[in-house]
Amino acid sequence: MSEHIVSSKIYYTIWIILLVLTIVTAQVAKINLGPFNPILALVIATTKALLVVLFFMHVKYTSEKLTKMVIVSALFWLLLLLFLSLADYTTRGIGHA
């Protein structure tokens, strides 16, 4: 864990951005963007998550490569579960099963 001490100004800035993004995502959901509604919602959520991980959880300031590897691996495994399962569900209707 890095002993780099982050300035409180950065924390407050991130906090404001997160609050703004929250309001944005709630309001944008009311606008009809067709298939982009869920995509945009997830993009905003991921942006917020990234901000929390990088700044609040100090990942941006750590010199530990292992930490980043753990995070990336966990996300990779999660996506594995989701996508390989969906590979079954999205191809079930095709031809003869």
């Binding site: 292992l66 390989l84 590979a87």
Partner: protein, 543 residues
């Protein structure tokens, strides 16, 4: 240098403190390993008891020993106890716990109290499971398939599910402890490429435990909720998908089989070089193949679902991936064999188990490829072919590796030698009994005998009789080591620090080791398996 000093005079981890509290509240990884040894041995015999009842029923084609419902409970309990309370903990919790800190040159694991917690979680889970068994058991199969387990079974599904949920956390915490220890607590000079392959194998195992077990946990939780609150998540009459359960279940349970085999492979990788007096052939390949197995093992789970109703396209994907996952295992087998080539082979008991492992694991693994082929799988899935396949790997592989490891490190653990001739005899008994039990099952499965049936057509009886006969021989082979290990603790020949002339940091400290493992923190300047520098012991230990 250490002579065969009388161990009673020297302080080590066994005699440093006496009394129940010093064991139940210990944080010494070596004592915790022994606590685990006792626990899982108990469960091994419980699971084995169910196996014997199964084999007894299958002596005759008619269902004449137990009712059909009872038979369902027998194979369910056999599976659950053996998998979650014996195989999954076995090598990591006993040998891994004992050896990994020593192999990396540390005083203990990274989190000793969490290590103790892991054991207590397994004990609590085990008590719950025993209670479940005694008060009626479960009949859903160890696989808990829905909607039978959630809506139709009249047995204690929730209790069993909770027990396994708790046992899962025991497994997760062990994996967490190992990964942190291996990353952060290696002695000076001990680079990754100098680590014993036993450590690499446990590192890979721990990754699987960390990333896979939580999915089992949430799946069992959903089953418990569904059953308790009558939800419809897995109920097809209410829009639920039973296959969703299977996807989530097998996402863990397939990698789980690699949790069960990888540590065994690590044991074999230690035994073979020692008793061939040769460096391991292809160190990097063996190390990387462990990681490859851990990763690829997560990509193949739906091969358990080929006939369950998944789409043909996903079946094809999973079939190809299942072929790929065999490659790293094959790499290991080639490297172990190449290690033995032109080595100076000593047929001590651990070596007999290791050699048996290679042969039986190869057979089990190759039959997995048969099952990975969609066309063949349609005919042999849910038959005794599958049962033979996984028992060749789990028993012919994992259990033999476990026994080989116990024998190999017994001098280190107890400070005593087991009787070598008895060890060899038991190993051969196990090998013989195992093959007699399970080889006929390949044939039975191919001929069409379904699994989980308590009756069968008369034409299958001869092979079933062979199988049952073999199981009794196998049982003898398993009971013998229990007896002579216990015997050796009092009457066995006192062992010195390195009776096998083996490489590895654990052999540089006394047998049994002191509580803090080493008198001085070692600094490693040599490569692993430096058997060209280590002389063979003058006298090969004989019982």
């Amino acid at each position: 240098m250490a002579t065969t000093a009388i161990t009673a005079e020297r302080e080590h981890y066994l005699n440093t403190d006496y009394g129940i509290r010093s064991w139940l509240l210990t944080t010494d990884h070596k004592r915790i390993a022994l606590l685990y040894l006792v626990t899982i041995t108990l469960f091994f015999f419980i699971g084995g008891f169910f196996a014997l009842l199964i084999r007894l029923e299958l002596l005759t084609p008619a269902g004449d020993l137990v009712q059909a419902d009872t038979y369902n409970k027998l194979f369910t309990m056999h599976g659950q106890v053996m998998i979650f309370f014996f195989l999954i903990p076995s090598i990591p919790a006993v040998l891994g716990n004992f050896l990994i800190p020593m192999m990396v040159g540390a005083k203990d694991l990274a989190f000793p109290r969490i290590n103790l917690l892991s054991w207590y979680l397994l004990v609590v889970a085990g008590i719950l499971m025993l209670h479940c068994i005694i008060t009626g058991g479960v009949d859903s199969g160890w696989t808990f398939y829905t909607p039978f387990s959630t809506a139709f079974s009249n047995t204690k599904v929730i209790e069993a599910g909770v027990a396994i949920f708790i046992a899962g956390f025991s497994s997760i915490l062990t994996g967490l402890n190992f990964v942190v220890t291996i990353h952060r607590m290696r002695a000076p000079g001990l680079t990754w490429s100098r680590l014993p392959l036993f450590v690499w194998a446990h590192y890979a195992t721990s990754i699987i435990q960390l990333l896979g077990t939580p999915v089992l946990a949430i799946t069992l939780l959903l089953v418990v909720f569904e059953r308790a609150f009558n939800l419809g998540i897995f109920d097809p009459t209410r829009g639920g998908d039973p296959l969703l359960f299977q996807h989530l279940f097998w996402f863990y349970s397939h990698p789980a089989v690699y949790i069960m085999i990888l540590p065994s492979m690590g044991v074999v990788a230690e035994i073979i070089p020692c008793f061939s007096r040769k460096r391991i052939f292809g160190y990097s390949a063996v190390a990387m193949s462990s990681i490859a197995i851990a990763v690829f093992g997560f990509l193949v789970w739906a091969h358990h679902m080929f006939v369950a109703g998944i789409s043909l396209y996903s079946a094809m994907i999973f079939s190809i991936l299942s072929y790929l996952v065999a490659v790293p295992s094959a790499i290991k087998v080639f490297n172990w064999t190449a290690t033995m080539y032109k080595g100076s082979i000593h047929f001590n008991t651990p070596m007999l188990y290791a050699m048996g492992f290679i042969g039986l694991f190869t057979m089990g693994g190759l039959t997995g490829l048969f099952l990975a082929a969609l066309g063949i799988d349609v005919h042999v899935t849910d038959t005794y072919f599958v049962i033979a396949h996984f028992h060749y790997i789990m028993v012919g592989g994992a259990v033999m590796g476990y026994l080989g490891g116990l024998h190999f490190w017994w001098p280190k653990i107890s400070g005593r030698m087991y009787p070598e001739w008895l060890g060899k005899f038991a190993a051969l008994t196990v090998f013989l009994g195992f093959n007699l039990t399970f080889f006929p099952q390949f044939i039975l499965g191919y001929l069409g005998m379904p699994r989980r049936y308590w009756q069968y057509p008369a034409e299958f009886q001869v092979l079933n009789v062979f199988s049952t006969a073999g199981s009794t021989i196998l049982a003898v082979g398993y009971v013998l080591p229990m007896i002579y290990f216990l015997w050796s603790m009092r009457y066995g020949k006192v062992a010195d620090a390195n009776p096998w002339g083996a490489a590895g940091l654990e052999w540089k400290t006394s047998s049994p080791p002191p509580t803090s493992n080493f008198e001085e923190v070692p600094e490693v300047t040599w490569e692993a398996y430096n058997y060209d520098e280590i002389p063979a012991p003058e006298e090969v230990p004989v019982g």
